[in-house]
């Protein structure tokens, strides 16, 4: 057996709050983080609600250091806060600090929100009404005046990882992957691989994203991917329910500290759980649809379970991708049923997106944190808002109430637009 990778810290910034225990308790009570959108005036949009992070101030996490990151975009600020929480949770803020070149970062980080008002102003100013076309010269003048360098640079998807490297002096390997909704699960899987191989001893990994801005909502509304239950927003996220009508856009960050076991032991850190398997595949089918057999998801789950040296009989719980879209939930259920066969109905499979909304690139990371907590406490987080069974979704979704369960190995799925499939196996730590 090679180097083992344990989780020694975790932190999150979510629509239900930022405290691990408090948010976990709220999830177990089926509370919803979904409210009318306030980050912009969405009242005329097809979808008027979302799962926003509320009352967030970076100073509350970084103290005076927050001023250094004053220019950071919303997603990067979430990532810095979640990393601070995870770093302290792991006890890495205690002396002696870890060797900086052995600490890396692998994020599934989204791009920063576009500087919308200024971007739009330049676009409208640059439009030539008489000729009904964009006048690039006029636009360039307006854009040079209204857009600013800092806002533009901070939108780059590698900036959250960059801020973390400076703030936590993490000089080791530094990556950002952006494989849509699968990004942070993929990041965690790759970070795990880096530690196993020996290219780092500590990896700060997870994701951060905020697409709750006019163009983000526009993009998903045009795809008809979002729920439009504007009058019933509290219960709008309905994974696996027959009446589901799309996902709910969320935002936030989840960060986990992955650490090589001996490194953790040497400094007296307590392993919370162990990552034991990772599988990643591409559907290679269509950019808009999942392959109807779920073959990509099946292959990713199978690869994760096999790489952990386990079989389907060892898996006690599945944290599903469970978005609440017609297609995802149907095909993910089929994939689980195909892989797990007769055992499928006996494996609880829930979706916390019913309460958090969909954090896009950050979704997999906050969901893996719920898996750590589920193993720790022997309790399964529920799927909220589950009322009407769908004949196409016939698994045990842990509907509407948390449930006790003794867990040794759990599977966490993330599937992204374009056929990106990633699965992780998380196991109870046994020394």
């Amino acid at each position: 057996m090679g180097r083992r990778t344990v989780i020694t810290g975790m932190g999150w910034v979510t629509p239900l709050g930022c405290d691990i225990e408090d948010v976990w308790a709220r999830l177990l009570r089926c509370e919803s983080g979904i409210e009318p959108t306030t980050l912009f005036d969405a009242r005329t949009f097809p979808t008027t609600f979302s799962a926003e992070v509320k009352n967030f101030r970076l100073e509350d996490f970084l103290g005076a250091d927050a001023a250094r990151h004053a220019d950071a975009a919303r997603n990067s600020r979430f990532a810095l806060a979640a990393t601070q929480l995870a770093w302290a949770y792991a006890g890495l803020d205690q002396d002696p600090p870890p060797r900086r070149e052995r600490v890396g970062v692998y994020l599934g980080g989204g791009e920063g929100p576009i500087d919308f008002d200024n971007f739009v102003r330049a676009a409208v100013d640059g439009w030539n009404d008489d000729e009904n076309r964009l006048d690039c010269v006029r636009w360039a003048a307006a854009a040079a005046e209204h857009l600013n360098c800092t806002c533009e640079i901070e939108q780059d998807p590698n900036m959250a990882a960059a801020h973390i490297a400076v703030q936590f002096q993490a000089a080791g390997p530094n990556f950002n992957t952006l494989t849509a909704c699968a990004a942070s699960t993929q990041a965690l899987g790759e970070a795990y691989s880096i530690i196993r191989r020996g290219d780092a001893d500590v990896m700060i990994s997870g994701g951060a994203h905020s697409m709750i801005h006019p163009l983000g909502t526009t993009g998903f509304n045009r795809l008809t991917a979002l729920s439009t239950r504007n009058d019933e927003y509290k219960t709008s996220s309905r994974p696996f329910d027959r009446t589901r009508d799309g996902f709910v856009l969320g935002e936030g960050s989840g960060i986990l500290i992955l650490e090589e076991l001996e490194h953790a032991r040497a400094r007296g850190a307590r392993p919370l759980a162990e990552i034991t398997g990772y599988g990643s595949t591409a559907d290679a089918f269509r950019i808009t649809d999942i392959h109807e057999t779920g073959r990509g998801g099946i292959a990713a789950m199978r690869a994760a379970i096999e790489s952990a040296g386990l079989t389907i009989h060892d898996i006690g719980y599945i944290s599903t991708h469970g978005t609440g879209t017609e297609e995802n939930d149907k095909i993910e259920s089929l994939a689980i049923r195909t892989l797990f066969g007769e055992r499928a109905p006996q494996v609880p499979a829930s979706s916390v997106k019913s309460m958090f909304g969909h954090l896009i690139a950050a979704a997999g990371a906050v969901e893996l944190i719920t898996c750590v907590l589920a193993i720790r406490d022997g309790i399964l987080p529920p799927t909220a808002n589950y009322r009407e069974p769908d004949p196409n979704c016939d698994l045990d979704y842990v509907p509407n109430a948390a449930r006790k369960a003794e867990l040794r190995h759990v599977l966490s799925n993330s599937f992204g637009f374009g056929g990106q499939n990633d699965s992780l196996v998380l196991s109870v730590f046994e020394g």
Binding site: F40, A42, R43, T44, F45, P46, A123, V124, W127, R133, L134, D135, C136, V137, W139, A140, A143, L147, N148, C149, I153, D156, P157, N158, M159, A161, A162, H163, A165, V166, Q169, A170, A171, G172, N174, F175, N176, T177, L178, T179, A180, R197, G198, P214, T218, G219, R222, L223, S280, T281, A282, A284, I287, G296, A299, A303, F417, G418, G419, Q420
Partner: protein, 445 residues
């Protein structure tokens, strides 16, 4: 690392201002050609520099099966470049993928198992197609001002339903994996100009650990669009004042360097498990033997003054390869032509390579190719691999008046013979501080 599988480079696919495929790129550089010119794609005269490196006559429909031609409508330029590069790469490698078989270009039946064929593709922050988006946004204007209420109510309907999917960075990888039927791990690295090297490094690791046998890897990006140029202008990175002499504008490591020239391009390489490559008698350009990555911890926007971050990545790659600096016969530089970044890169090379730095044969491509962002590193790497295969150093444009700190040996005008057994190729993000280094050795059984 002992026990790991060996990884060969068996295909090079590049799409650059010098042409489609690796041959026109190599021949163009050998002949000293420059791909930088005044931008023709849009009227750039209102921007601080009008210069760019544009790929002439690129149509993604020429590189996909007939059944997939409709999909090119949802491809941003970056995606089109990646799709074209993938086609060039698999052809160069002699891989009969689904695409080549369906197009009647294959030399035989499919010869790569789709479930063992992966992708690691670097991508930039893809800029929305400004004329398209502005065309929709202006419909929501009232009295010359944009109305968000009107946009939400009706304006947004002027965007095609699949609009968002044109600009997701992972769509480079998604289209490529669909077209060529690659179902093994597919990753998208978004770390600016470091993306290509990091993606190739990830592909190397993926094959070495056994999660795939073949990976298509590298990166692609187009900065030839109004936002792409403007962002560099706002960052004060454009080489200005050269509009009349574009072939002299981008000057890597030159005493007179003033900035970058934006461009577009993509490079995808085929990495293959050594036994897999041998079994199908593939041409082996070289063997990947080392990879290292690191982060700058001094700033997320400014270059590291002492180059410590990049030096650490180079040292990690040398250590990974189990070779010393003395084994390096060639360095493929990043050499963007920026005052601070080039100085930092020189410091890093000097610190990591010690006495080997002085007179070390080197290549800098950006005087000819400009800065293709996430695609840039793969182009640099492909050119260095060609140099390794041909034992020849192509001339590096505009390196003839070097910074006094630059003691690398570039071929300035004509190609130079060079015995190359082992090369180092470096890449780093201009913003963000990610660094990566790869070491490639001539193939030996």
């Amino acid at each position: 690392m002992t026990g790991e599988r060996r990884v060969a480079i068996t295909g090079l696919g590049t799409i650059t201002p010098l042409g489609i495929g690796i041959e026109p790129l190599w021949e163009g550089l050998m002949a000293g050609r420059c791909g930088l010119k005044p931008i023709e794609a849009f009227d750039a005269s209102g921007l601080a520099s009008r210069l760019g490196g544009e790929i002439p006559g690129l149509k993604a429909a020429d590189y996909v099966p007939k059944s997939y031609r409709k999909s090119v409508k949802v491809m941003a330029r970056d995606i089109e470049i990646a799709v074209a590069a993938a086609h060039a790469a698999v052809r160069d490698a002699g891989l009969n993928t689904r695409c080549l078989v369906e197009r009647g270009e294959a030399t035989g039946p499919v010869n790569v198992d789709p479930t063992r064929f992966g992708a690691n593709i670097g991508a930039g922050l893809i800029c929305a197609d400004l004329p398209e988006l502005a065309g929709a946004l202006h419909t929501a204007a009232e009295n010359g001002r944009f109305s968000l209420a009107r946009w939400g109510h009706e304006g947004m309907n002027n965007l095609t339903p699949l609009w968002l999917l044109k600009f997701l960075p992972n769509m480079l990888g998604c289209h490529v994996t669909i077209v060529h039927d690659a179902q093994a791990p597919s990753n998208t690295i978004t770390c600016g100009e470091a993306s290509s090297h990091l993606a190739v490094g990830e592909a190397y690791r993926t094959i070495a650990r056994g999660a795939a046998d073949v990976c298509i890897c590298g990166g692609a990006e187009s900065k030839i669009n109004p936002m792409g140029v403007l962002r560099q202008q706002l960052l004060n990175r454009l080489a200005t004042g050269w509009d009349d002499t574009p072939d002299r504008a981008c000057r890597p490591f030159s005493a007179r360097r003033r900035g970058i020239v934006v461009s577009e391009g993509g490079g995808l390489l085929i990495l293959e498990e050594m036994g897999h490559a041998r079994a199908r008698r593939a041409r082996i350009y070289g063997e990947v033997i080392g990879f290292g990555a690191s982060a700058n911890t001094s700033s997320w926007t400014q270059p590291d003054p002492d180059g410590a971050g990049l030096a650490a990545a180079i040292r990690a790659a040398l250590h990974d390869a189990g070779v010393s600096a003395d084994a390096i016969d060639l360095v493929g530089t990043f050499g963007g032509g920026l005052v601070g970044h080039d100085a930092s890169e020189l410091k890093a090379l000097q610190n990591a390579l010690g006495s080997r730095f002085d007179g070390l044969p080197a290549i800098a491509t950006k005087g000819s190719l400009g800065n293709a962002g996430a695609g840039a590193g793969a182009l640099d790497l492909a050119v260095s691999v060609m140099a390794l295969a041909h034992n020849t150093l192509p001339p590096s444009r505009n390196t003839d008046d070097p910074d006094p700190e630059c003691r690398l040996a570039f071929a300035t005008k004509d190609p130079a013979d060079a015995r190359i057994r082992c090369l180092l190729s470096v890449g780093y993000a201009l913003s963000g501080g990610q660094n990566a280094a790869l070491i490639i050795r001539k193939y030996e059984e």
